[in-house]
């Protein structure tokens, strides 16, 4: 057993935690693993190659209840945990955050300062594919952009996998489910598909940690991840970093714009 597995065994045996959310090797890919029994601990591995952002499970009451749990976290999870905490969605006393370094040593990040430091030191390089696509779209004229997005989003089947995969889409009732008024048509249509994505991006503004789980979850491989990516970059440039990651519920009297007459 490696150090991670040993630590996991101890935690579960000693009853320190009820559940460890981590990763295991699936048939073809790394997948999330919910480890509840000490004897299962040997299945745990550490990898940042999992397409899921496991922080998404931290807001699932039915999974966690009032139990203390541990999460084996990579940059993605930790960035999300920091944001979730700012949004009052984390009970710190019930959550243990573990990371594994390149030597296989397990570290517990006990405070949010430590987590923030971890994120600063481990920020992944930007994805060149995403950047290239954004640049390509930026260079199109408006009609071309419209045609591009219309044809892409026309394919969307509104399965809401993007919503389910996102750790920050934790609302009990999504706007897509509100029917008084019916903001979004519930069926698949180009209009409501576009409207849904606009809502998703607006709701993510300033909050998105850029983990890319939404795009990876899309069964049609639609380029929806670049919407949040583009929005995050532009917001930083236009408005700076918002308080608590939230740019839309704070303001600066000197915010600059050039379109209000």
């Amino acid at each position: 057993m490696n150090k991670l597995q040993e630590r996991a065994t101890d935690l579960l045996k000693g009853g320190t935690v009820k559940l460890i959310i981590g990763f295991e090797q699936g048939n073809n890919k790394i997948r999330p693993f919910f480890c509840e029994k000490p004897e299962d601990a040997e299945k745990l591995i550490y990898s940042d190659d999992c397409s899921t952002n496991n922080a998404v499970y931290l807001t699932k009451k039915e999974l966690i209840g009032d139990n203390k749990i541990a999460i084996i976290a990579t940059y993605k999870e930790i960035a999300s945990i920091i944001q979730l905490n700012k949004e009052n969605q984390i009970k710190k006393e019930n959550l243990m955050v573990l990371t594994v370094d390149k030597d296989g040593d397990v570290t517990e990040l006990t405070s949010f300062e430590e987590m923030e430091k971890f994120c600063e030191e481990n920020t992944p390089a930007p994805d060149p594919v995403v950047a290239a696509l954004i640049e390509k779209i930026d260079k199109m004229n408006r009609e071309e952009r419209w045609a591009y997005w219309k044809s892409e989003l026309d394919k969307c089947i509104r399965c809401y996998a993007c919503r389910a995969a996102c750790p920050l889409c934790y609302c009990n009732r999504c706007i897509s489910e509100v029917n008084c008024p019916q903001w979004l048509d519930p069926w698949k249509s180009t209009l409501s598909n576009i409207e849904w994505q606009i809502n998703r991006v607006m709701h993510m503004s300033g909050r998105c940690t850029g983990c890319g789980a939404c795009a990876k979850a899309c069964p049609l491989d639609l380029p929806i991840g670049i919407l949040t990516k583009k929005m995050s970059t532009d917001i930083k440039e236009m408005l700076g970093e918002g308080e608590g990651g939230n740019v839309l519920s704070t303001f600066n009297p000197n915010d600059k714009e050039n379109f209000i007459h």
Binding site: N88, Q89, I175
Partner: protein
């Protein structure tokens, strides 16, 4: 199926000249849900209103749309009409057919069409409207005044004289504030103490005023009409019920070398002390930081000397919770100390003093008995330089604003100096002389012309000491920018007026806004000068910006009237246009997920945390946002921010607005 009534007003010919009112009514009458539609010459007239009332009763209308002038004109009128006929007033909407249609468009088909569309939009909206009831908030009939300077004194007396109860708290041992430190006041040169002390005594003796000195606000909760304030009563170490104020203890206290705050450090006081002879209350407190007993555990001389046994060393600070309906903040200001000005000596030279220190030197009582003697050696200065705008109007010093009072008090200082030191020589360096105010300009002219104060327009670059003199290097910009060098015996800096210490912290406790300089912000610079953005909290005096005494007193009386008009009501009646967080059946309880990101959006701090608890165990199931209807003013910014649409604004709900927009377009 709703039963809407539509009433189109001709407004004489104001509307009907360009809009075919009859057709608007006819078309509206054909819409789904419309039970009754008509047009009339003057809908706001008595017969017009009777027409509406009769229609409501006769047709059992459950909603009304009046097509008339702007709702800003007659919305209240028509809502009242509906209420009189038994229809909830918020089931009435006004289509603006005059200001937004007939007066701005030519006669024609397009104009009539637009009128029909607007009416259609509102017919759809009113079908979604819910009856709303005005919000009644009971009022606690007592006001809290924070700060016992002239602003607080005036406010408290005015409120108390109207028969309302007042609680005044003052953080220092005596009320009186900065005004009690002043020698004489411009532009009349009457003695500050003489006009102030009677009012201080009146506060202490007024049956409607309860005074707590040495007390500070610890916490403020609640909202207009219903505040709950926690007051920290700092331990005075003296039982005031026993103390007779004989003052024996203060003469016996061995620690006599403590710089007196009242004298701005120019005189000394003891550790057990009354700040000044006319203090109210005129009873001592023990300054624990300097008391030998508190610091070293030995002494107790005051206790031994006290004839009534009033000294109580071991009493801790106490906390008191009071309920008040309104709060007036009158915490005043401070002046910058000389050590803010390295170019003028950085607090190094004893004879470079602030204007407030000069007030003490000129004061008849203390520490020089009214003789102008400089602090370093007690000599009478033969040459004095006054420097105006020290810090003020200087963005590089972080104080771009004008401190307003300095021009006048500097003229007064120079004048007092000339009166007291015959043959003395005084120079004032100034940027501009701002003497706007009744008899102010005349006062300054008197200083220049009758008392021969030498006014030099220009800045001082540096003050340094050489051979026992203070060398003041400046420039006279009216004489071709000639450098001026004066060998002075004393230099008085008119240092900038700044927010009082702890102003920011106090503002945060009360949730009122403040400007970048920590002065408290009024709700509107012109029309709401004594209100804050938090209903029920008012401001007066220099806590808002530097102000002189007449202005402060005027503002204090203004704030008092606002308080009295609030406290004279049994209930506050408020429009029910407030935001609400939805509630639904368990296990969800509300669609609010408690992210509380809306908290920062609310300018009124109306968003609170509500814990939903298990009825049996009392365990917290969920924490959701709750909007305090007493604080909410109904802007609705939180509503459009909320991602899960868990907040809605009564009167402008998502459904109402959505329906109105879609109906406008679909017609």
């Amino acid at each position: 199926m709703s039963r809407i009534g539509v009433f189109i007003c001709h407004c004489g010919e104001n509307i009907s000249a360009t809009v075919d009112c009859e057709r608007v009514a006819q078309e509206a009458g054909r819409l789904e849900g419309v039970e009754f539609a008509t047009d009339y010459k003057y809908m706001c007239s008595d017969p017009g209103q009777t027409l509406i009332k009769n229609a409501i009763k006769e047709h059992h209308l459950d909603g009304v749309v009046v097509g008339s002038c702007s709702p800003r004109m007659h919305e209240a009128t028509f809502r009242k009409t509906c209420a009189e006929a038994g229809l909830n007033p918020y089931m009435c909407e006004i289509a603006n057919l005059r200001e937004h249609v007939s007066w701005v468009h030519e006669k024609g088909e397009a104009t009539t069409r637009k009128a029909i569309q607007i009416v259609t939009g509102l017919i759809s909206k009113v079908q979604r409207n819910k009856p709303l009831n005005t919000i009644k908030v009971p009022v606690t009939k007592c006001a809290l005044v924070i700060g016992g300077g002239i602003a607080g004194i005036q406010t408290a007396l005015d409120i108390a004289n109207c028969g309302q109860k007042v609680i005044m708290i003052e953080k220092s041992p005596s009320i009186g504030g900065h005004m009690s430190q002043l020698s004489e006041t411009f532009p009349t040169l009457d003695c500050s103490q003489c006009i102030l002390t009677p009012r201080m005594v009146e506060v202490a003796q007024h049956p409607n005023i309860t005074l707590y000195t040495y007390a500070e606000l610890d916490k403020l909760e609640g909202f207009v009409g219903n505040f709950k304030a926690t007051i920290r009563l700092k331990a005075k170490s003296i039982d005031y019920s026993k103390c007779t104020g004989c003052g024996l203890c203060t003469t016996k206290c061995p620690n006599k070398k403590i710089p007196s705050e009242f004298n701005e450090g120019l005189g000394m006081r003891t550790a057990i002390y009354v700040p000044f002879p006319q203090a109210v209350p005129n009873k001592p407190v023990i300054d624990k930081e300097h008391c030998l007993y508190y610091q070293k555990g030995k002494c107790k001389i005051c206790s031994k000397s006290c004839p009534t046994g009033a000294i109580e060393y071991d009493k801790p600070d106490e906390f008191m919770t009071i309920e008040v309906g309104a709060v007036v903040v009158t915490t005043g200001f401070n002046v910058l100390k000389t050590d803010f000005f390295p170019e003028y000596g950085y607090g190094k030279y004893k004879d470079v003093i602030t204007g407030l220190q000069f007030e003490r030197l000129a004061s008849a009582s203390w520490p020089t008995l009214g003789e102008i003697r400089r602090p370093s050696d007690g000599k009478i200065p033969q040459k004095v330089v006054f420097i105006a705008c020290c810090g003020s109007r200087d963005p590089a010093k972080g104080i771009p604003y004008c401190s307003k009072i300095c021009c006048m008090y500097t003229a007064k200082h120079a004048m007092l100096y000339q009166h007291k030191v015959h043959g003395g020589d005084s120079t004032v360096f100034y940027m501009d002389i701002r003497a706007g105010g009744k008899n102010y300009e005349e006062f300054v002219r008197r200083a220049i012309e009758e008392d021969h104060v030498n006014y030099v327009r220009g800045r001082v670059a540096r003050v340094y000491e050489k051979d026992g003199k203070l060398i003041v290097k400046g420039v006279d910009t009216l004489l071709g920018a000639e450098p001026v060098e004066i060998e002075a015996d004393m230099v008085v800096l008119a240092t900038a007026g700044v927010a009082s210490k702890g102003a920011e912290e106090l503002a945060q406790k009360m949730h009122i806004s403040y400007d970048p300089y920590h002065f408290f912000a009024e709700a509107h610079p012109k029309l709401k000068p004594v209100e804050t953005n938090t209903a029920g909290i008012f401001l007066a005096g220099a806590c808002q910006a530097p102000k002189d005494i007449p202005e402060t007193v005027a503002a204090a009386s203004g704030a008092a009237v606002k308080v009295v008009s609030l406290l004279s009501q049994e209930n506050l009646v408020r429009e029910p246009i407030v935001a609400v967080v939805n509630r639904c059946a368990p296990p969800l309880f509300s669609t609010c997920v408690g992210c509380f990101m809306c908290e920062t959006i609310c300018p009124y701090h109306a968003i609170e945390h509500e814990e939903i608890k298990d009825r049996k165990t009392g365990a917290v199931i969920k924490t959701i946002a709750k909007i305090n209807p007493g604080l909410c003013q109904g802007c609705g910014t939180c509503v459009s921010f909320c991602r899960s649409k868990s907040i809605d604004l009564e009167g402008y709900t998502n459904e109402e607005m959505y329906t109105e927009v879609m109906a406008l377009l679909n017609h």
